[in-house]
């Protein structure tokens, strides 16, 4: 919202207060300053002139020649604007004058006619943006007077943020009330005395609905639709309101002046009693913008003999609109229920200065004053006839008295406030109150619907005390240096992967339907009903797609092939594990390893990864992990595994299928994995199993078995471990030879007994026992060569 220093000065004497100080005040009162413009007089030697004559330019048809009386003299001036006639009163820049931005005006020859200066527009005088032509001044402005005297452009314009709870501050009066407490300067009452001179023709009624507490109107006859007064045009333009004509401008003026929205009807288009009710479903109304609106029973409407003529507080109707030919007016000033106005304006997406004020709540005692000010500003400019104000009010709204312990102020704020401070603040804010030795009783004024509870008043006191005048104390919580499992898990994963040259990424949580299907067709995605665009209509059901996209992006744009990981939520339509009524969400880790990296190893060769690199990195994170082969969409037929930790599934891993690789258009194979971080505990992962050291010599066997292609070496190792339960064992694979016909697996067993040295015989027995057991359990054959006991 924009406010003007000169306008505020109508309500509180602040002309002589420095604008910097006012900025500080506004900010400390909670009005965020979005921008500020300081206007200084930007022109010199401009006088008021009267156009005596206008005639054609002999050599140009886009301009005309005028004769202008500037009091002391009559000048011939060439002018390119066409929006004025003979007798117009206009600002004239004389020869040797300066207009906006120091631009100098001199006598000059325009196609053979000497032009003695310039007739100015509002923009040229830095008043407001107006390119419609020259600025026409009121008829009774004195010819020859110094324009800078009748019109001073020294001013400050602030654009401020008003929080949604402070509807009462959405006007110059509202801001002035807040400043009044800050500067300890009283608000001017600006009483208006009206002297009605016509009878009311139209009856108004606030209706049976509880959503209109009061409906007031005034009627006006004998007026001209024309430009509004220059001061009004300046003020409205400065606060960003488009000037249209006097009727529209004056309603807008009152709104920005005191915060009461008004609506003007063409009285001659009304036929009976004007009243208020809720619309019926499917009732229609053609609004000012010439659209026929289908109404709902939530919409509050104004009716004329029960026919809808306006959407209350939101937009006027087309059929009762004020036009160029309007002769008589009915001006509405009402108090509508804020929730009702909000629902209608949001549903129809019609948001106006008026609707915003109604929905934030206006002063319920302001309606009469609104009409008074409208008449007052109108009759200042034109000699109008006007009726008395007719009013239809329900039992008036009133706020309850609230009482609370004075100690609560200290209990919440941590400062002691003196009774004097409390009393002065409340009285300057016009909040009726009683302060006793231990209690405060208050009653909110008609414009402050936000002061309902003790806490509301305590906040008000805190604000006027000044937040920056509070002391600071530092309490310490109850979880000293314990960040919790969730955070430590994340840290554990990040540190391991980052230190192994994985780059962490953060990608958006959305996916289109197709990309979810590639890796998790079994999951129903969570859909966004009002998506930003089609690619973001679902939440992702896996992290793999984002990882591949990031890989591809950097491969294509930066020619780099790196490892990446992401830790974030994935979502699906299933039930949430902990909470009711929300979909399933799993805090997951995904990572990606390309076959070739652009990084080099210590030989200077590109790092080459294979399925073992994938398993190694997973074992780095989860040393006890188990792999279990499974077929999975998007994955290589053989390289696709479920990951288990203590027999609980934690995720899956594998190689991207060649088909998927080609559909992503990638030349590099990718290894990918995803785990649900909620499915393991950190203490399970970090378990280190100490193996006691035997002090006896070891015996060692290298065995070679002929096995099938799908044989899993880890099973063999685990099994042999069970055959040597009381020994310190080190069992490893040293060879895995494969050709088309056969596969040989070389296994090295190094074992020591904890209690004795094995004799040659015992050693031989152990070898036989192992070979026999392994052959019979797995139906595999020991190759004759290569088995010797040492």
């Amino acid at each position: 919202m924009k406010i003007l220093k000169s306008w505020l000065n109508d309500w509180i004497d602040i002309e002589n207060i420095d604008s910097n100080e006012i900025s500080d005040a506004l900010e400390s009162l909670g009005f965020e300053i979005e921008s500020r413009i300081d206007k200084i007089p930007n022109y010199k030697n401009i006088v008021v002139g009267k156009v005596l004559d206008i005639y054609e330019h002999p050599n140009a048809d886009k301009v005309r020649v005028t004769k202008v009386d500037v009091g002391s003299k009559v000048y011939e001036i060439v002018c390119g604007a066409w929006n004025f006639d003979i007798n117009a009163i206009v600002p004239v820049a004389l020869p040797n004058s300066e207009i906006k931005d120091g631009f100098k005006i001199e006598k000059r020859d325009i196609r053979g006619v000497e032009s003695n200066g310039m007739i100015c527009s509002a923009s040229e005088l830095d008043l407001w943006d107006d390119h419609a032509g020259i600025l026409k001044l009121s008829e009774n402005t004195k010819v020859g007077s110094d324009f800078a005297k009748i019109y001073s452009s020294v001013d400050t314009i602030w654009e401020i943020g008003v929080t949604p709870n402070r509807g009462d501050c959405m006007s110059h009066l509202g801001i002035a009330r807040e400043l009044s407490r800050y500067f300890e300067t009283p608000i001017k009452s600006n009483e208006i005395k009206l002297d009605p001179n016509i009878e009311n023709v139209i009856k108004v009624n606030s209706g049976k609905t509880k959503f209109c507490n009061s409906y007031l109107s005034v009627e006006i006859e004998n007026f001209d639709i024309t430009d509004s007064d220059i001061k009004v045009r300046y003020r409205l333009s400065s606060v960003g309101v488009r000037v249209i004509n006097n009727v529209v401008d004056y309603t807008n003026y009152v709104l920005h002046d005191i915060g009461q929205p008004l609506h003007a009807f063409d009285r001659d288009k009304l036929f009976g009693t004007v009243s208020v009710r809720k619309a019926k479903d499917n009732e229609t109304l053609k609004t000012l913008d010439e659209q026929t609106r289908k109404l709902s029973n939530e919409d509050l409407i104004i009716t004329d003999n029960d026919t809808p003529i306006a959407l209350a507080g939101v937009m006027g109707g087309y059929n009762s609109e004020v036009t160029e030919s309007t002769k008589n007016l009915l001006i509405e000033s009402a108090y509508f229920d804020k929730v009702s106005i909000m629902k209608t304006s949001r549903r129809l997406n019609l948001i106006s200065d008026a609707s915003i004020r109604f929905e934030r709540g206006i002063d319920y005692e302001l309606q009469n004053k609104g009409l008074e000010r409208f008449i007052s500003v109108f009759k200042n400019d034109q000699n109008i006839y006007y009726s008395k104000i007719s009013s239809s009010k329900k039992e008036s709204i009133s706020y309850e008295e609230v009482t609370f312990d004075k100690d609560d102020i200290f209990k919440i704020l941590g400062v002691e406030m003196s009774d004097d401070f409390i009393k002065n603040t409340l009285s300057q804010l016009q909040i009726k109150s009683k302060v006793t030795s231990n209690k405060i009783t208050f009653k909110s004024p008609s414009w402050r619907y936000d002061l309902e509870r003790p806490i509301d008043l305590i906040e008000e006191l805190a604000k006027h005390y000044g937040f920056n005048n509070f002391q600071s104390t530092l309490p310490v919580g109850n979880n000293l240096n314990n960040k919790g499992e969730y955070w430590y898990k994340r840290k554990y994963i990040s540190e391991l992967l980052s230190s192994n040259n994985f780059y962490e990424i953060q990608t958006l949580s959305f996916a289109d339907s197709e990309s979810n299907k590639i890796f998790s067709p079994e999951k129903n995605p969570v859909t966004v009903i009002n998506p930003i665009d089609q690619t973001q209509e679902n939440l992702r059901t896996n992290l793999l797609f984002s990882l591949i996209n990031t890989y591809k992006y950097n491969y294509e744009n930066n020619s780099v092939s790196h490892k990446y990981y992401e830790i974030n939520n994935i979502y699906d339509d299933g039930k949430h594990k902990l909470y009711k009524n929300i979909p399933n969400q799993e805090y997951s880790l995904g990572f990606l390893i390309p076959e070739y990296e652009t990084n080099t190893d210590s030989r200077g060769e590109l790092i080459h990864n294979d399925i073992h690199s994938l398993t190694n990195f997973i074992k780095l994170l989860f040393p006890q992990v188990q792999f279990e082969q499974i077929s999975r969409p998007g994955f290589h037929k053989n390289y696709s595994y479920i990951l288990k930790l203590n027999n609980q599934i934690i995720g899956f891993m594998g190689k991207l299928s060649y088909k998927a690789q080609s559909s992503f258009n990638l030349d590099n194979s990718l290894y990918i994995m995803q785990i649900n971080t909620e499915n393991f505990n950190l203490n399970e992962v970090e378990v280190i199993k100490y193996q006691p050291l035997s002090s006896f010599p070891f015996i060692k066997f290298d065995l070679s078995f002929s096995v099938k292609n799908d044989f899993r070496a880890s099973e063999l190792i685990e099994y042999i471990e069970t055959l040597l339960p009381n020994n310190e064992n080190k069992i490893s694979i040293f060879d895995n030879f494969r050709n088309e016909k056969s596969r040989n697996l070389g296994i090295r067993i190094v074992t020591r007994n904890y209690n004795k040295t094995y004799t040659d015989t015992e050693s031989g027995d152990i070898l036989d026992m192992i070979v026999e057991n392994v052959q019979s359990k797995y139906s595999i054959k020991l190759n004759k060569s290569g088995n010797d006991a040492t």
Binding site: L29, G30, E32, P164, K338, M342, E359, F410, K411, I412, L413, G414, V415, R453, I455, A462, F467, N468, F470, S472, T473, L474, P475, G477, N478, N479, L480, N482, K483, G484, Y486, L497, S498, N501, F502, Y503, E504, I505, L508, S509, F510, V528, I529, N530, I532, D533, L539, N554, N558, V560, Y564, N568, N569, Y571, Y579, N581, I582, P583, Q585, Y587
Partner: protein, 330 residues
């Protein structure tokens, strides 16, 4: 008596020394000129055959020349070593401005790093990390936070909904975690909740449909507005440095009262908003059934905003494009 021609000896020594190419030659030269088989040594042997006077004067001469040769050799050796190192250092003149090892960052995303940093600061004064779902009920995102259906604040954020009854949504603020935490834990509560929030904005330089906030909540007996101020001032100083100035200005949030915004004075003198905070509204505590003697404060801070300020990052889009040129910088 035939004396040795010392000049000749010295001249030959000079030539010899000039030709030295290796440090160990100096020992040979010493031997050659002063050793057992040297000319000087031969002369000395002859001394016994001379008269007493001649013996004395020629002896002295020999001593002098001996000393002179010895000094010349030592001096020459010193010069040689000096020159050797000096030449070596002359030959070593790399252009140190060339970066052969380019900086590749920590490999952690800057958003995670900033979240970590903020969490560390609050953890050091007794806060634990809490988390809650990102797809939330409207009740947790709005109603429980004192923002009923008709409240204007409910329309200020463009919310993404996930069901047609508007009962579930993508949380617009991490404040939802306050409610989840208090529903499941008795007071006192000292938590921070970093995480993702969502708005209906297309990704561009200044907007993102996904961004990160960190919510803080402190509920205990006797927590006051002055404690809120002290806590957040502590955070700001830890994060931006102890020189930074802060101020608190009144604001409005449906779930806190009084509410404030914290501004910091930036290097160019501009005051920038960095977080919103306030005393938890009594209605919120009532919604989660906390006993009346408990009260406290809450705050929310934008992680991207902190990162952008601290590292002068220009576009929010950079965080989510994951361009390696961006990732490598942190």
């Amino acid at each position: 008596m035939a004396e040795l021609n010392f000049d000749k000896v010295l001249a030959s020594l000079r030539l010899r020394l000039d030709e030295v190419i290796s440090e160990n030659e100096f020992d040979e030269i010493s031997k050659e000129y002063l050793g057992k088989d040297s000319l000087l040594s031969d002369e000395r042997k002859k001394l016994s055959t001379l008269s007493k006077e001649d013996k004395k004067s020629y002896g002295e001469k020999l001593n002098q020349i001996n000393k002179s040769i010895s000094e010349k050799i030592i001096k020459s050796k010193q010069d040689f070593i000096e020159k050797k190192y000096s030449d070596l250092e002359d030959s070593e003149d790399e252009d140190v401005t060339i970066n052969w090892v380019t900086k590749k960052g920590t490999h952690r995303h800057i958003i995670s790093q900033v979240m970590d940093e903020v969490v560390d600061i609050f953890s050091s004064i007794g806060y634990k990390v809490a988390y809650g779902p990102e797809v939330e009920t409207s009740w947790h995102n709005f109603d429980a936070l004192n923002t009923p259906d008709w409240h204007p604040a409910r329309y200020e954020s463009d919310t993404l909904y996930t069901n047609t009854n508007l009962e579930t949504l993508l949380r617009t603020q991490t404040s939802t975690v306050q409610i989840r935490h208090m529903e499941n834990n008795d007071p006192p509560a000292y938590i921070v909740a970093p995480g993702r929030v969502f708005r209906s904005d297309q990704l561009d330089a200044t907007h993102s449909p996904v961004f990160h906030q960190l919510e803080g909540l402190a509920i205990d007996k006797n927590l006051k507005f002055t404690d809120l101020k002290g806590t957040l001032e502590y955070f700001v100083k830890q994060f931006f440095g102890s020189e930074i100035e802060t101020k608190f200005i009144p604001h409005f949030f449906p779930f806190t009262e009084p509410s404030a915004e914290v501004l910091v004075k930036w290097k160019n003198g501009e005051w920038l908003e960095i977080l919103g905070c306030g005393m938890v509204d009594p209605n919120v505590l009532k919604h989660v059934g906390y006993p009346e003697e408990f009260q406290g404060f809450a705050w929310g801070v934008g992680i991207e905003r902190l990162a952008m300020l601290k590292y002068q990052i220009d576009h929010i889009k950079n965080f989510y494009d994951n361009d390696i040129r961006f990732l490598e910088q942190f």
